[in-house]
């Protein structure tokens, strides 16, 4: 054989690959194979769908709109944009134990955090604690880069500037007395955010790092005073700030505000009356937005969402239906030859 190959230098290699004879499997899309497959897949999907649906049904959600555009809303007077430092209180009651851990969200609708030019208007270098960007912020931050006096804005940019600044306090009304529900503001942002992605400059005290800079235009307080209660939760690693910086995917979104995990509320919110004290600051009327707070507990698959379960059920059912259709087709076109 070797000899022969020597004789014919041009002879092509006789391998399965070069001769295109690789062992191959041909999936035949014919009813005979497809029907059982469809039935199996369909049944599996239905099973998953049922499980998802049950899980989702077990999740409790409470949504409270406090935009205040309606006359009867407790926050109606606060919705006036000219009103400063307005506080309104929302009363609500819970019929049965709201199982813990309860997540406390605030929600905005019609708010385009995914607006492209809004999204790019930030300076990751600044937020990483790099002091060089304090002097000269990233040019994408325009027009929130320098103030009128050409002093750099730190942190700069549109996302930062529009930080959500409503604050909430939750009270349980026990025997007519307001009992404050402790809200846990730790761990509401991604761990990677406050440990890796965002950093304060290594300057102590922190405020010195901000010398020569100005706070964002809309902010009442500079970045190093975001959380007066906890010095470690200030600057760029303030968790509320981090939650806000993680831009929402869709115009109707909610963001985690606090978790209710402490004290008497470890097991959740007991049935009863509650009042929510809202420091109403954030203007939403200019874009017809709405604000709300949401209490929810979560399952292994996240918050309440029946869609996925329904989707599985629908697709699973479709598969089964199709297999029936195929069966009919098969019966009509195939069986005469089946013997």
């Amino acid at each position: 054989m070797v000899k022969e190959e020597n004789e014919s230098p041009n002879r092509p290699d006789n391998t399965a690959f070069t001769q295109q004879r690789l062992p191959a499997w041909q999936p035949m899309l014919s009813a005979g194979i497809v029907i059982p497959g469809f039935v199996l897949i369909g049944l599996a999907f239905i099973g998953i769908g049922v499980a998802l649906l049950i899980t989702s049904r077990n999740i409790q959600v409470l949504e409270l709109d406090y935009t205040g555009t309606e006359q009867n809303s407790p926050c109606f007077q606060c919705s006036d944009p000219d009103k400063q430092n307005c506080v309104c209180t929302l009363q609500f009651s819970i019929n049965r134990l709201f199982e813990g851990p309860v997540f406390f969200y605030y929600g905005l609708s019609n708010y385009f955090q995914n607006y492209r030019r809004y999204g790019v208007s930030r300076d990751d270098g600044q937020l990483y604690g790099d002091l060089s960007y304090f002097k000269e912020p990233y040019d994408q931050c325009e027009p929130y880069r320098y103030d009128r006096n050409k002093r750099p804005i730190v942190p700069c940019g549109s996302v930062v500037n529009s930080l959500f600044n409503d604050t909430f306090r939750l009270f349980q009304i026990v025997n007519g007395q307001q009992k404050e529900v402790p809200l846990d503001g730790k761990g509401i942002a991604w761990w990677t955010d406050y440990n890796i992605k965002f950093r304060n400059p290594t300057v102590t005290p922190l405020r010195n790092a901000f010398n020569g800079t100005v706070k964002p235009l809309f902010w009442p307080r500079p970045a190093y005073e975001l959380d007066t209660s906890d010095p470690a939760n200030n600057g760029f690693i303030n968790q509320d700030f981090l939650v806000w910086m993680r831009r929402a995917a869709l115009p109707d979104f909610r963001k985690l505000y606090r978790r209710i995990t402490e004290g008497d509320y470890t097991n959740g919110l007991p049935a009863g009356n509650y009042s929510l004290e809202i420091a109403y600051n954030y203007p939403v009327l200019s874009f017809n937005g709405r604000k709300m707070v949401v209490f929810s507990n979560v399952s292994w698959m996240g918050g309440k969402n029946e869609f996925l379960g329904i989707a599985y059920l629908v697709i699973g059912t479709l598969c089964v239906v199709m297999s029936v259709v195929m069966l009919i087709v098969y019966a009509k076109f195939k069986f005469p030859e089946e013997e």
Binding site: Q19, F307, L308
Partner: protein
């Protein structure tokens, strides 16, 4: 030799040529010897290009700018650069500008690297060539010294040794050959392996001692460099003022190899890039395939879709901005100046941004991917063992890399006959001499035996025969190794396979004919006559009787065989020493009678030039003066010539009486010529066939010298024929002649051999007055009859004639001829006229019938191709009868078929004929159209394509609705009229309703005109296949040109897109590779469009949720690398390896080819179907995550990444659904893509927490992988997205399978009895009946496994057989000739 030059030649484009030439020498080039001048500026040759070649395109410095410049000629590249640059404009940018450059830079650099690599290879081969050695005469050292090729200059003297490759175009000044010849092999130039003779320049012809360059002082004036290999004109001016003409026979071309000549010396005339070989190098051809043209339309549509989407988004954005009015939302961003952007302005900015975001829709990598896939396809076609021809050790060559898929869409095949359908292996079959036919029955039986052997050989497995053959292989092995250095390859075919094996050992080195061509069994009757004739002549010679007393029929027989032996250009060689021609001077034995006679031989009558032409033309009248003339030659060695002459003369005197049939023994160098098996190498195979035929009758050519041919005749022994002139064959004259001096009769005789049509016209009309004349007339009449008979048997006919010239006639002709030979202007024309003057009033000797055997498998191939819906036209230069018979033999014409023969003598007649034919066809077939359908033939008619009827622009329905069982035969003259603008439509109307068309006696130009006409008028895909130079124009005109790398040189191959070893390979090339390439590429292109549209649409839907702001939830990295990385490999693998139907089934069911002809894999509506599917799938992929993550705190990229992942899964699984055959490579590539996506995502998401603004997806993927919802989404979404397509495919496979799917099902049948199953399916009806629904019903067969679909009502496919219309042949030929001509 497959020299590096050869390798380079294929790719070389002309490098820069120096244009420093001064204006005054605009017409000619003067070359002086370099040794006369200093090597400085005074050298008159310095302005000519030196021998250094540079075929590279780039230098180190120029690479980048030049390559980029070239790449930007491609519009797509400019577009993508434009988009990338758009990203640098802050107001509109969408991505990180640097990142946006990535794809363009990637594509550009891939191409640049490819170019660089190619250029580097060229550079390497250039370097290798430039550094080859040769001997150049050094002025200072006064001897030849080794120099590199690149150091050779025009005007240098170089010494060439045997087997050396010529470094430049060299004028031959001296040769060690006693005949002053130099043999060269031109295989690298034209692929012809036979040796060519070149002559030393006439003035140096008589140099006896070695050529001394230092004494050379002549000037050469020649034409400027040009690329015509067959032309060289000029003259050499000696110091004495004498001018000698130079011919192409004096020029040795660069790249050729010196053979059989120990040493030659020449002066370089053209060097480097100005050599003819280099001027002949053209770059590879660029053609655009039909599929690509179609694709470009859809790329255009993609641009439209892109613009629509962008405009939509821009308007949407404008409105979105507008709705806020003066109320400025907190998330709004002011312009950098702090002012509000007007909605209109931001809409305009957004339009540009969207173009960047949606750029993926225009597939940047599509062009690159197509190129890669095509290269892979070419590789596989190359590698196909079935397209490999063992005998010639050649395989298919793809010379055009970018039209592989066109092979799958052919509709018309135009084929040459000789050498393409036939073997061009000429076998002597029978002959007629002096009006008597010799049927050679035994010979016919022998040929039949070879055929049987062939089939037997093929049946027994090849391995069986290896053992006995081995020793022969071994024994020849050493010989082979030694001879490898000659490395000449033969393309000669040999008889049977076993034969081929054995012969191939030798034929590697020499172009020997196979035994089938050589061993001719003589006809006993003729043999007797030859013997008788020989003995009589011997007797007469012995008794000094004049030869004219010989009975005229015997004389004719002898003349006939002498003509066969002499009238050719065959080179004789012996097998023990391949390539060393037998050189024997038989002058010592020849019947030299006088010294005068001897001197005459040395008189350079043919070779003298103008200065002494007077003396040579007076050859006959003033013989004695020639001696004086010859000694008056200006060459320094005249004296030595004389002494040599005298020596020989004395030798002759001694040996004058020693003439005997046996060779003299004193010459030790001479091998015994009888014992040696002589081999003949001929330029055309029929020449060799005739010489072998003569040899069978003991009239063998034993030696050939430029001025003398030695023939061994029965009883007479060896005779020397003094060869006075050879008037070579040309296609206009269609004949060749030799002028010889007959040694026995002392007469100057002209032997002419040529096509019967021309020779018959040149025959001297016999004087019917005497008996001789009557006999002549009878001979002519009978010969004509036999010729017709031969032609009817499909033999090639040649007529042999002779003419005896009186000395006066000869002298008269010679004078004019010499004038012609020495003319510098219009020499060719003058020589042509001179030949015409000579070849008149011939005397007919006889005619031969040579069989041009059909190649193996030609009828089967034609049958299969026809079943595949291909129309086959044969265009040949052969005569009508021969062509028709070959057509019958190869099943092109069917005996049951009616044949329309068109022969007309005038335009009007032709028009009438066409009209009448049309009427006839209409009358006969249109009314009884139902009857005209034939089951075998079904694919030709309405082949119902899927729902929408085939679009009218292709003239499909019209051109194919009525193909009848009709054959059309048209001859060249009629064709010329038919191709006229006024008649071409009618001609086409007739021709396309015929099943087969045969054009005979057509010129190369007509061939190309026919192809062009069909291609342009019918808008069909055409393929031209041919093997000879006469097919080149047709090959170039056709959509796909195929060359047969046969024996007629390489011109056809050089012009072709694909070169095949045999005609039968066409079947697999078209039916299998063509089908595959087409279906693979078509599917890949559609997939590409789908893929990009689907991906981009995701972002488009998102615009509705982000205020049409150009925001993308898909990270810019994924968006940009999606095409380049994540989805690139599987489609390439599928595009390269996918097989919709197995090769076996494709070949057994040629009907499946119609799939490609009708472009069924890629129809315009399919693009839109794919687009719709893409939009549907993207909707699913968008909205399932949308609703799944609604009301959650998901952030932009944590939501976008699952969308991306799902899209990647869906796209890959979509490919999986569309993949017809899964191999481990498909699986691997898909797994690899998924793995690559996750790896890149994980790495990307884990690197650099602050980079990649604005997306900054740090740790996103890592978190997603911990989220069960992500997995649930990845499961449900692709399933939902692909469900409809999968369902459709499943139903299609069951309810309305396409022919291809049925074919695929055949593949899956158990292999036990595949043949039976195939047979059961071969009754497949592809729409013979008008019911379009039932286009592919399948014959019922009990063996058929269950999967076969069959409608109960359409139970059996019916083979509608027409009753044979025996006898109703409608042959217009004779009637029309009478009535119209």
């Amino acid at each position: 030799m497959a020299s590096p030059e050869g390798a380079a030649a294929a790719k070389v484009k002309l490098g820069p040529r120096k244009k420093k030439k001064s204006k005054k020498e605009s017409k000619t080039r003067s070359v002086y010897a370099n040794i006369l001048c200093e090597e400085d500026d005074n050298n008159p040759n310095r302005q000519y290009a030196d021998n250094k070649i540079k075929t590279t395109k780039y230098t180190v410095l120029s690479f980048l700018p030049k390559n980029l410049f070239e790449q930007f000629h491609r519009f797509a590249n400019v577009y993508f650069v434009f988009i990338a640059l758009l990203n640098f404009v802050p107001v509109v940018n969408a991505f990180q500008p640097e990142l946006a450059l990535a794809p363009v830079v990637f594509i550009l650099s891939v191409t640049a690297i490819k170019d660089l690599w190619e250029d580097y290879r060229r550079h390497r081969s250039d370097k290798e060539i430039n550094h080859m050695d040769c001997l150049v005469y050094s002025r200072t050292e006064r001897r030849y010294v080794e120099k590199f090729w690149k150091e050779v200059h025009v005007g240098d003297f170089i010494r060439l040794r045997c087997n050396e490759i010529l470094p430049a175009d060299v004028l031959l000044l001296s040769s060690s050959d006693p005949d002053r010849l130099c043999h060269i092999e031109t295989a690298t130039l034209d692929g012809e392996t036979n040796l060519k003779q070149r002559q030393v320049v006439r003035s140096f012809f008589d140099l006896d001692c070695d050529f001394d360059p230092s004494k050379y002082d002549s000037v050469i004036e020649c034409e400027k460099p040009n690329n015509d290999l067959n032309r060289f004109r000029g003259y050499i001016i000696h110091r004495s003022g004498r001018r000698d003409a130079l011919y192409k026979d004096n020029l040795l071309l660069r790249g050729c190899t010196i053979r059989n000549t120990e040493e030659a010396v020449g002066i370089v005339i053209y060097a480097g890039h100005e050599t003819k070989a280099m001027l002949n190098n053209n770059g590879p051809r660029y053609k655009r395939s039909k599929l690509e043209r179609q694709m470009n339309v859809d790329v255009f549509w993609c641009v439209i879709i892109l613009l629509v989407m962008c405009s939509f988004a821009a308007v949407g954005h404008g409105l979105w901005m507008f709705q806020y009015g003066d109320k400025r939302p907190v998330f709004d961003v002011l312009s950098p100046e702090g002012t509000d952007l007007s909605p209109v302005l931001s809409a305009i900015y957004l339009f540009l941004t969207m173009i960047i975001v949606f750029q993926v829709l225009i597939p940047i990598s599509l062009f690159v991917s197509i190129e890669i896939v095509k290269i892979c396809q070419v590789y596989f076609i190359h590698q196909d063992a079935e397209l490999y021809d063992e005998e010639s050790d050649s395989h298919l060559q793809c010379r055009a890399l970018n039209i592989t898929e066109d092979l799958g869409q052919m509709q018309y095949i135009f084929s040459d006959k000789t050498g393409t359908l036939t073997d061009n292996k000429m076998v002597f079959r029978r002959c007629t001499v002096a009006g008597v036919e010799y049927s050679h029955d035994a010979n016919a039986r022998r040929l039949a035996m070879y055929q049987e052997m062939d089939s037997e050989e093929e049946e027994c497995p090849s391995r069986g025969g290896t053992l006995p053959r081995r020793d022969s292989v071994g024994s020849h092995h050493s010989v082979k190794v030694v001879l490898r250095s000659h490395s000449t390859k033969s393309h000669r075919r040999t008889g049977s396979r076993a034969e081929a094996k054995r012969a191939s050992i030798l034929s590697k080195h020499t172009a020997f004919s196979s035994p089938m061509e050589k061993d001719i069994t003589p006809d006993p009757q003729l043999m007797d006559k030859v013997n008788e004739c020989g003995s009589q002549m011997d007797f007469m010679r012995f008794h000094s009787q004049p030869m004219s007393q010989l009975p005229s029929d015997l004389g004719d027989i002898m003349d006939f065989f002498i003509a066969l032996t002499l009238c050719n250009t065959v080179v004789v060689s012996s097998p023990d020493q391949p390539r060393h021609k037998v050189r024997m001077r038989f002058e010592l034995k020849s019947p030299v009678k006088t010294i005068e006679d001897f001197i005459k031989r040395f008189t350079p009558s043919r070779l003298t030039s103008g200065s002494n032409s007077s003396s040579s033309s007076s050859l006959t009248t003033n013989r004695s003066s020639t001696k004086g003339c010859s000694s008056m030659l200006s060459s320094p060695s005249a004296d030595s010539t004389l002494t040599k002459l005298e020596e020989e003369v004395t030798a002759v005197a001694v040996a004058a009486h020693a003439f005997s049939p046996t060779p003299p023994t004193y010459d030790g160098k001479i091998r015994n010529p009888e014992g040696a098996d002589l081999r003949y190498e001929a330029e055309s195979p029929d020449e060799a066939a005739l010489v072998y035929a003569a040899k069978a009758y003991k009239c063998s050519l034993v030696g050939r010298l430029p001025d003398q041919m030695t023939v061994d005749l029965p009883h007479l022994g060896k005779l020397n024929f003094e060869l006075l002139h050879t008037l070579g064959f040309d296609s206009t004259r269609k004949r060749m002649s030799v002028v010889v001096k007959h040694p026995l009769t002392e007469q100057i005789t002209v032997y002419t051999k040529g096509a019967d049509s021309v020779i018959m016209d040149l025959i001297k009309s016999p004087n019917t007055g005497n008996s001789k004349g009557k006999r002549q007339k009878k001979i002519i009449y009978r010969t004509q009859n036999y010729l017709n008979q031969y032609a009817a048997d499909g033999l090639r006919t040649l007529c042999i004639a002779k003419k005896i010239l009186s000395k006066e006639e000869y002298a008269c002709w010679l004078q004019r001829h010499l004038e012609a030979e020495t003319a510098i202007q219009g020499r060719e024309e003058l020589l042509f006229e001179s030949a015409l003057r000579l070849e008149t009033n011939l005397q007919l000797l006889g005619a031969t019938g040579i069989e041009d055997r059909l190649q193996d498998g030609v009828p089967e191939t034609i049958d299969a191709l026809r079943k595949a819906g291909l129309q086959i036209w044969v265009l040949t230069g052969d005569k009508q009868e021969t062509a028709v018979n070959i057509a019958y033999a190869c099943k092109l014409l069917d005996p049951e078929e009616e044949i329309l023969t068109l022969n007309a003598d005038s335009m009007e007649a032709c028009s009438l004929l066409l009209e009448e034919s049309l009427h006839y066809i209409q009358a006969k077939f249109l009314c009884g159209s139902a009857k005209s359908f034939h089951a075998d033939f079904a694919p030709f008619h309405i082949y119902p394509s899927p729902p929408p009827p085939p679009p009218p622009p292709r003239h499909w329905s019209s051109s194919h609705a009525a193909v009848h069982r009709l054959g059309l035969v048209i001859d060249g003259r009629t064709l010329a009229y038919a191709l006229d603008r006024t008649l071409e439509d009618k001609f086409l109307a007739v021709a396309r309703s015929c099943r087969s068309v045969l054009c005979c006696r057509s010129t190369p130009l007509q061939k190309s005109m026919v192809v062009k006409l069909v291609r342009n008028k019918l808008k069909v895909m055409t393929l031209a296949i041919g093997d000879g130079a006469n097919d080149v124009s047709m090959i170039q005109v056709a959509d796909v040109g195929v060359g047969i790398s046969g024996q007629e040189g390489m011109q056809a191959v050089m012009a072709s897109d694909f070169a095949l070893p045999r005609f039968r390979n066409l079947q697999k090339l078209l039916l299998v590779h063509g089908h595959w390439c087409y279906s693979r590429l078509a599917n890949m292109i559609l997939y590409f469009f789908y893929k990009n549209a689907m991906f981009v649409a995701l972002i488009f839907w998102y615009q509705f949720y982000c205020g049409f702001s150009g925001s993308a939830m898909i990270d810019q990295w994924y968006l940009i690398f999606f095409n380049l990385m994540f989805s690139a490999f599987p489609q390439l693998i599928t595009g390269t390896l996918d097989k919709d139907v197995s090769a076996q089934t494709l070949q057994q069911l040629p009907q499946l080819y119609i799939n490609g002809q009708n472009s069924e894999e890629y129809k315009p509506y399919m693009f839109w179907m794919n687009m719709i599917d893409a939009f549907y799938q993207s909707l699913v992929c968008f909205f399932i995550p949308y609703f799944a993550y609604a009301d959650s705190d998901v952030d932009l990229f944590t939501w976008g990444t699952p969308v991306t992942t799902i899209a990647v899964f869906t796209i890959l699984l979509h490919l999986g659904v569309e993949t017809k055959t899964w191999t481990w490579m498909n699986l691997l590539s898909i797994c690899f893509s998924v793995a690559l996506f996750f790896t890149v995502a994980l790495c990307y998401n884990a690197s650099c927490p602050t980079c990649y603004s604005p997306s900054n997806p740090y740790w996103t993927m890592q978190r997603l992988l911990q989220d069960p919802t992500f997995y649930l989404l990845c499961l449900i979404t692709p399933a939902a997205a692909l469900l409809p397509r999968y369902f459709y495919r499943a139903c299609q496979g069951t309810i309305f399978p396409s022919p291809v799917q049925v074919g695929r099902r055949l593949d899956r049948l158990p292999a036990k009895n595949p043949h039976g199953n195939i047979l059961s399916l071969s009754g497949i009806q592809t729409g013979a009946r008008p019911d379009p629904e039932r286009k592919f019903s399948v014959a019922k067969d009990p063996r058929r496994p269950r999967e076969e679909s069959q409608r109960p009502d359409a139970s059996l496919s019916v083979r509608i057989e027409l009753p044979p219309e025996g006898g109703v042949k409608y042959t217009k030929n004779s009637q029309e000739r009478l009535s119209v001509g």
